[in-house]
Amino acid sequence: TESFDFSRYHTISEIYSFQDMLVAENPNLVSKIVIGQSYQGRPLNVLKFSTGGTNRPAIWIDTGIHSREWVTQASGTWFAKKIASDYGRDSALTAILDKMDIFVEIVTNPDGFYFTHNSNRMWRKTRKPNPGSSCVGVDPNRNWDAGFGGAGASGNPCSETYRGEKAHSEPEVKSIVDFVKSHGNFKAFVSIHSYSQMLLYPYGYTTTPVKDQAELHNLANKAITDLASLYGTRYRYGSIINTIYQASGGTIDWTYNQGIKYSYTFELRDTGRYGFILPANQIIPTAQETWLALMAIMDHTFKNPY
């Protein structure tokens, strides 16, 4: 992975190869878990960073659930390398990994990602056909069992925010649900999107504040302050419903309701005017600054066991 070019966008097969290389290079730290298959049969790979122990408290990071948000998969790849490189060198990360595991799912929606490379760069959803409709796919960030079917998601299969027939209908979502439930010891869950520069915590489906709102708010402030220290990228933060809009069936609303207190979702940068086609020269700065915020969240999780 030393020759892997993090400053450009990569195809799904290149990212799969990268994951295998990282595992091969760091057999005592990194392993690959296949938590399921996408609708089209692609593996749902999760990299597990662990220094030992069984069922340690853990941190989850996923990127690319909306396939067209390419800077997220690219950042996820960078994060994976960063974790492997910094263990034993960076004291804060080393302390975390000596007690906790970190799981990274880089390509959370592989069918959609493949489709963005080969057919439609602007594809966001999964690729499962919808019975009775010519429109394909479900928005996997409206498919979770948290206010599912409520306002802020669409019942129209042709909409970009189509929620699906029922909660967890998408294998890409169900696989995470099953994995998180069977693991049972996740303490932080970070789901990464782009763009619009926000760090958000639950809820999206209701205006009822989460019981940990004050702590999540303060931690978000710390995380975005750290993030901005590198390049001055300005983030907004708050609950989803108050900061963006009402959105039902969202990922971190479900994880929070499962008892994972430190549930956050990012919207990474577009400081300019490129949106989802952020130029490749922005990948490393984006990943670097986001890493600082991730470290803030991971460090707080480590230091505040519950």
């Binding site: 020759s3 070019d5 450009r8 966008y9 080969n118 057919s119 439609n120 760069r121 602007m122 042709c158 970009e160 763009y195 619009s196 907004r236 900061t243 963006i244 809009y245 005017r273 490129y274 949106g275 989802f276 086609i277 130029p279 490749a280």
Partner: protein, 99 residues
């Protein structure tokens, strides 16, 4: 392969809550096939929307009739996508000898 020739991405800015509501209404105009890259949040945050070529004139007329300010964020989406593809291909060519 779906292409995006002539599609533009518009950045729309609302002056107040009333204008924000007018932009929100556009999300329901299914016939225009708009793709909201960044949806309606608050007055301080612009809305980015991809507009297919066939809807461009209607959308711009609509925005102007409502006195909604906008600028063209991406002039021709396909041009940018082609540039991105070329960049990926050329990076791959450079990487090959190293491998």
């Amino acid at each position: 392969k779906e292409t995006f020739e002539g599609h533009q991405v518009l950045r729309i800015t609302a002056k107040d809550e009333a204008q924000l509501a007018l932009i929100k209404d556009m999300e329901e105009m299914v016939h225009l096939q708009l793709d909201f890259w960044r949806g309606v949040t608050d007055v301080a945050t612009p809305v980015d929307v991809r507009v297919p070529f066939h809807s461009l004139q209607s959308v711009k007329r609509h925005l102007e009739s409502l006195e909604l300010e906008y600028l063209v964020m991406i002039q021709d989406l396909q041009v940018m996508l082609d540039e991105e593809k070329l960049e990926m291909e050329s990076a791959a060519r450079v990487a090959e000898p190293r491998n």
